[in-house]
Structures are given as C-alpha cells and as structure tokens.
C-alpha cells in the first residue's frame, strides 16, 4: 500500500466513525421529516375547509349567499355536488346570539369554523344597507399552517360579495349584464411579464420566482455551512488530538514525505466532507421534494432548471469549497496545542461559513454594495452557496471566477500547510518569538534556521 493510501485510509477510519456519522444522519433525517411534514401541512391547508353554516335569516339573500358558497366549493375546491354536505355542515340557527350555545353546537357538529347569517341579513341588503355575516372560530393552532381556515373564510366571503354584487347590479340597479364587470372592476391587469436571462415569460412575477426558490435559497447555504463547520471541527479536533497524543510527532519521524502526510489528510477529509454532503443532500432532496408535493411552482418551464453540467459544476464548487475549508483548518489546527485549544480554533471557520450563509438567505450577492460584494467574494465558502442560483440565472462569469478563486485559495492553503509541516511551528506552536520575527526585518534576517 502506498504511503498516501495508508494515511488516507487511516484518516478515513478516524473521520468516519459512528460518533461523527450519526449526527449528520440525524440532521438529514430531521430535514426529511420536516419536508414531509411541511408538505403534508401545505397540502392540508390547501384542501377544502369544513365549515358550519347557520341561517337565522332564512331570506332570499342568505339563501343566495349559501348557494354561492356551494358554487365556490364546486368550482374552486372541485368538490362534487353530492359531497358538499361533508364540507358545508348546517347548524342550528336558533342559538343565534348565545356564544356558549354556538360553541357547543360547533363541537357537537365537529366544525371549527362557522358562518352565521343573522336575522335581518336579507332585509339589510334589500334596503341597500350593508349586511354582515358573523364568523366564529373554535380553535387556535400555533402551527404555521394550522389556521388556514381564517384566510379561506376571507376568500369565501369575497367570492360571495362579488357574486351578490353582480346579482344586485343586474337586478336591483338595472346595470346591463355586459357592463357589470367594468362597474365591479374598472381596472384590470394583463398577465405579468418577467424577463429571465433575457427571455420574456408571461404569467410569473419575480416574487413568485423568489418564493418558489426560497427552499433552495435557504437549504443550500445551510447545508454547505453545516458541512464546513462539521468537517472543520473534525479536522481541527483531529489535529489537536494528534498533537496531544503526540501521534503527529511519531508520524513526522517516519520515512514519509510531509507533502504526502498533508495530502493524505486533505484527501481523506475531503472524501469525508463529500460523504457528509451527500447525506445532507439526500435529506435536503426529501425536504424540497416534500415542499414540492405541497404545491411548489415548477420553475423549469421558465428556463430555471439545472442540467447535468450544472450539477457537475456545483459538485466541483462544493469540493473546492471543502478543500479551502480543510486547508484553513489544517493551518489553524497547526497552532492548536491540544484538543481543547483546537475546539476554539473552529470559531473563525464557523464565522466565515455563517456570514455568506446569512447573506444568501436574506439577500443576494447582486444586491450587496461593492465593498461587501468583495468581502463575500473573498470568503471561499460563498461560491458553492451561490453557485446553484447563479447557474440557474446563467451568471457564468461569477461561477467561473468563483471556481478559479477557490482553486487558487486551496492551492495557497495547501502550500502554507506543507510549509508549516516542514517547520518547527507544528511541534513548538507559534511562539511570541515567531510572531516578532514575522514583523521584524532584523528578526527575518536572523531567522535562518539552517
């Protein structure tokens, strides 16, 4: 077995332990569950709402309104006529005005939402006064999608209002049927047109695009941040352990080149990082898939999709990002005297991974002022975080520049790491004298360790 393979195999055995894999798998499983739960909730929320209807008015307009509600369920929710009684439950109207009796009746009939037509509803409309429908809700949910019955009621009442207005304009006010639309909605709007990569797409707005992409905008930066923080922590801790146990001292006195040691550690850590990434990606796939099942927009018909080459670029970008992180971790790890000291060294890496993550979640690279764009570009982890969106929107310049920058950054880090492995710093740590020597010309001249 070659020395490189020997070191890589050993490092992988140390990196891919049940202790390090279980948290990664757990996070992926949590994402899978979140996706299926949110998807299920969204689906539930867009399903027809079961409502109670009580008619204490029993007049022309309350009957008409109930008819409009039935039409709404048939046309909007696609509920067959014969199934309407399952969704629109008739409640006893004699309890009008008695809140406790209303609550009991709602519980008895198993409804959580009630539309109550009070006495005088039709009379008010007939006398050209505004009538009111009373709304009752018997449950408050703290879940994000648990209170969808209230916006659903707003939609239903709006539909009833429009339908009644049409009826009244035609019959009560003598407006010709062909003019009713113009009276109700004097201003209309055409289908919106949005230009994406120079192509005009009808029927979609930038807000709808960003909403549809919100799960990717959130999940990709979070996933990359998690990989970098986790792999960074493992690598730095492993170096702290190596120093504490003096296994590194032993390794450095073996007949093996220092570059081989650094390469073995880097390759193994990058492989472990990609395995972690793959596990996270499976979790993210099920997460976004769960959301899509709940009714996400299909962006591919607007040209916003990724092909095989795009995914390859994303993978390369991720790999380079991981190599950059590992290079930085190995440089930082070289200064850790022991395992405990190594733990604090992960902080700069975590911070550098979190800054672009928050930027990508809450805004975008293009929206940042020039200086901040420079800062974000300089952080190598930003590039895999924004690669997917840039590829979707065809911003190849930024993707290519990011890849070149990461490759150069990774090479610089590997070079510095090899230099450190060939110096005393790895054994003695970074002493005050080393620091002074770095910033003093006299020190530099006298630093000639032969």
């Amino acid at each position: 077995m070659s020395h490189l393979a020997n070191i890589t195999k050993k490092e992988l055995r140390e990196l891919l332990t049940p202790g390090s894999l279980i948290p990664v798998v757990m996070v992926a499983v949590i994402f899978m569950f979140m996706g299926s739960m949110i998807g299920g909730e969204v689906e539930k929320a867009s399903a027809p709402v079961v409502i109670g209807i009580a008619d204490a008015d029993d007049g022309v307009y309350s009957d008409l309104s109930i008819g409009y509600i039935e039409t709404f369920y048939e046309t909007y929710y696609k509920v067959p006529v014969e199934d309407l009684p399952e969704y629109l439950i008739t409640l006893d109207s004699s309890i009008y005005g008695n809140d406790q009796a209303i609550l009991q009746e709602m519980r008895a009939k198993g409804v959580t939402t009630l539309l109550f037509f009070g006495p005088g509803f039709s009379e008010d409309i007939a006398s050209k006064e505004q009538a009111t429908i009373e709304l009752y809700f018997s449950e408050v949910s703290t879940g994000a999608f648990g209170n969808m019955s209230s916006p659903a009621m707003t939609g239903i009442i709006s539909y009833v209002n429009t339908s009644l207005s049409t009826e009244l304009l035609e019959d009560g006010y003598g407006v010709p049927p062909e003019e009713v639309g113009a009276v109700l909605n004097p201003i209309g709007q055409t289908q919106p047109v949005t230009f994406i990569n120079g192509v005009a797409y009808t029927g979609i707005t930038p807000y709808e695009i960003s909403s549809a992409m919100s799960s990717q905008s959130m999940s990709v930066p979070i996933m990359i941040m998690l990989i970098i923080v986790m792999i960074g922590s493992i690598v730095i801790s492993s170096m702290g352990n190596e120093k504490e146990n003096k296994t590194l001292e032993t390794l450095l006195t073996l007949p093996v080149d220092r570059t081989t040691i650094v390469s073995g550690k880097l390759i193994a850590s990058a492989m472990a990082g990609l395995i972690y990434g793959l596990i996270y990606m499976v979790g993210m796939y099920f997460y976004t898939d769960g959301l899509a099942a709940g009714g996400s927009m299909d962006l591919s018909k607007y040209g916003l999709s990724l092909g095989g080459l795009d995914w390859l670029i994303i993978l390369v970008s991720m790999f380079l990002g991981i190599i950059c992180a590992l290079g930085m971790c190995m440089v930082l790890g070289a200064f850790a005297k022991n395992y405990k000291a190594a733990q604090t060294m992960t902080m700069p890496i975590s911070m550098l991974a979190m800054v672009p993550m928050f930027v990508m979640i809450f805004t975008s690279y293009g929206d940042l002022p020039g200086i901040l764009q420079g800062v974000i570009f300089a952080i190598p982890f930003s590039h895999p975080m924004m690669a997917m969106q840039n590829l979707m929107f065809g911003d190849m310049t930024l993707v290519a520049a990011g890849l070149v920058y990461m490759a150069l950054f990774a090479l610089a880090m590997i070079y510095i790491t090899v230099r450190i492995y060939r110096s005393d710093i790895l054994i003695t740590g970074f002493t005050k004298e080393d620091f002074k020597r770095m910033f003093s010309m006299k020190g530099r001249r006298g630093a000639g360790r032969s």
């Binding site: 332990t17 001292e249 006195t253």
Partner: protein, 239 residues
C-alpha cells in the same frame, strides 16, 4: 563506528537559546542516556536528532547522514518514541501496528512486521481491542513494539518509562536491553538518574542547555567518589 554524532549543536527560539553548543557521540549497539532536569534541553535535542525540529547551528549525523540535508535517509534509519506518546484512539492495537508497518514494508513483509510487533507488545488478545481502552503500561508496550518492529538501526526514546509502575518500567528496560543486544543503538532521555544508571552504557548530563559531563556511569561515580549517578549530577552542577 558512531551511529550518532552531535557537534556544537545550538537551538534558538528567537532570542532564547535552549541548546547551547552540545557535542557528543553514540556508538553502534550502545545504550546512551541523555540526563538532566526538566527543561534542560533533552527533548529539544532528541527532536532535532529525530528531524522534528530544525537545527539552528551545529551538526547532527545519524548513521553517516546529516539530519538537515538528508532527513529522509535519517528517518529510514531511526525510530522515535516521544514522551507520553499515544496512538490513534479509534484503531485497535493490531490496526495501529498495521498502519505503521505499511510505511516500512508491503505484503508479506508488512504482515511479518506486524506479527513481530504483536509478539513484542505482549498484549495477547487485547491487541484487537481499541487503543483507547489500554492502560498506560499497555500503551507504552504497544508503542515500544511499534518503534522496534521495523528493525531500526537507531531507537530514540524520550522519558520511556515516565509514569509507569515498577513492573511495567522493569519490563520495558528489559526490552531495551534486548534490542541493544540485537545491535540496535538506543538513545534515551530521562530525568530518572536511577534508571539510566541501571540501563545505560554511557551517559551525558545536560543542564540549562549545556552538556556538563559525559562518560560511563561507573567511572563517573568513581571519579566523583559517590554511590549514585544522581550524586554525580549534583556535584557536577554545583562544581
């Protein structure tokens, strides 16, 4: 023939000089002890000999190879055991020996080396247990086995019995005598003067980065008219 030659060796960290021009040599098959109090510069000297630290000035030659110019050649001939060293906790004793053997040999030769290491470690069935379940004595036996199994020409051991109980320390001294009998040159550092008196053919005393005395323990005791190496050291330091 000298396995190790150290000439006017200096080591500086900035303005601080921790090794101040020491010179000594170790003959082939000899057990040589570098003794002195904590902080005297023993470990720094051993680390320079083992190619871990760069030499500020002076010269070190191991088996005829300069440690600075031919560090790869030196590493092929030495085996270094740091003080309080450990092994990779997630590996078993056998896997650890296998990992180390792969740097020196391949195939059947590596397998034979591992078998030799297992026999030397005297860990029995525990060789297949994870290293983090080992006692300090077991760990030290594994590491010494690791250091010896490739058949180095020169073994460098820093405070090799430090922290071990009487039985373990006795066994390890026995192992060192045995490898020296087989022709391996051994350089040990210790602040335990009793141990070096028992074990070493020759000793060098270091204090405050300077070599203050070198010779055969029995001759040094006779020269200073004292019964122990410890007393020789005290007299040498106090002039």
């Amino acid at each position: 023939m000298d396995t190790l030659v150290v000439e006017d060796l200096h080591k500086r960290y900035g303005e601080r000089e921790v090794v101040k021009g020491i010179s000594f040599s170790v003959k082939e098959g000899e057990i040589f002890g570098l003794i002195g109090p904590n902080g005297a510069g023993k470990t720094t000297t051993l680390r320079m000999i083992s190619t871990l630290l760069r030499v500020t000035s002076g010269r070190i030659e191991v088996c005829g190879h300069d440690v600075m110019k031919e560090s790869d050649e030196v590493r092929r001939r030495i085996s270094y055991l740091p003080e309080d060293a450990g092994a990779y906790k997630d590996l078993t004793g056998r896997a650890y020996l296998q990992f180390m053997a792969n740097f020196f040999a391949n195939g059947d030769e590596a397998k034979a080396m591992v078998e030799k290491g297992i026999a030397l470690s005297k860990l029995g069935d525990r060789i297949d247990s994870k290293v983090d379940t080992y006692s300090k004595g077991m760990m030290r036996r594994l590491l010494i086995a690791r250091a010896i199994m490739p058949g180095p020409r020169f073994a460098i051991m820093d405070e090799v019995t430090s922290g071990l109980d009487v039985m373990n320390a006795y066994e390890i001294r026995d192992v060192i005598r045995e490898i020296a009998r087989q022709g391996v040159t051994v350089l040990i550092s210790s602040h335990n003067m009793f141990e070096v008196d028992l074990l070493c053919d020759r000793i060098a005393m270091i204090n405050n980065g300077e070599l203050i005395l070198e010779g055969v323990p029995s001759e040094l005791k006779e020269r200073f008219g004292v019964a122990t190496v410890e007393e020789v050291f005290v007299k040498a330091v106090n002039g």
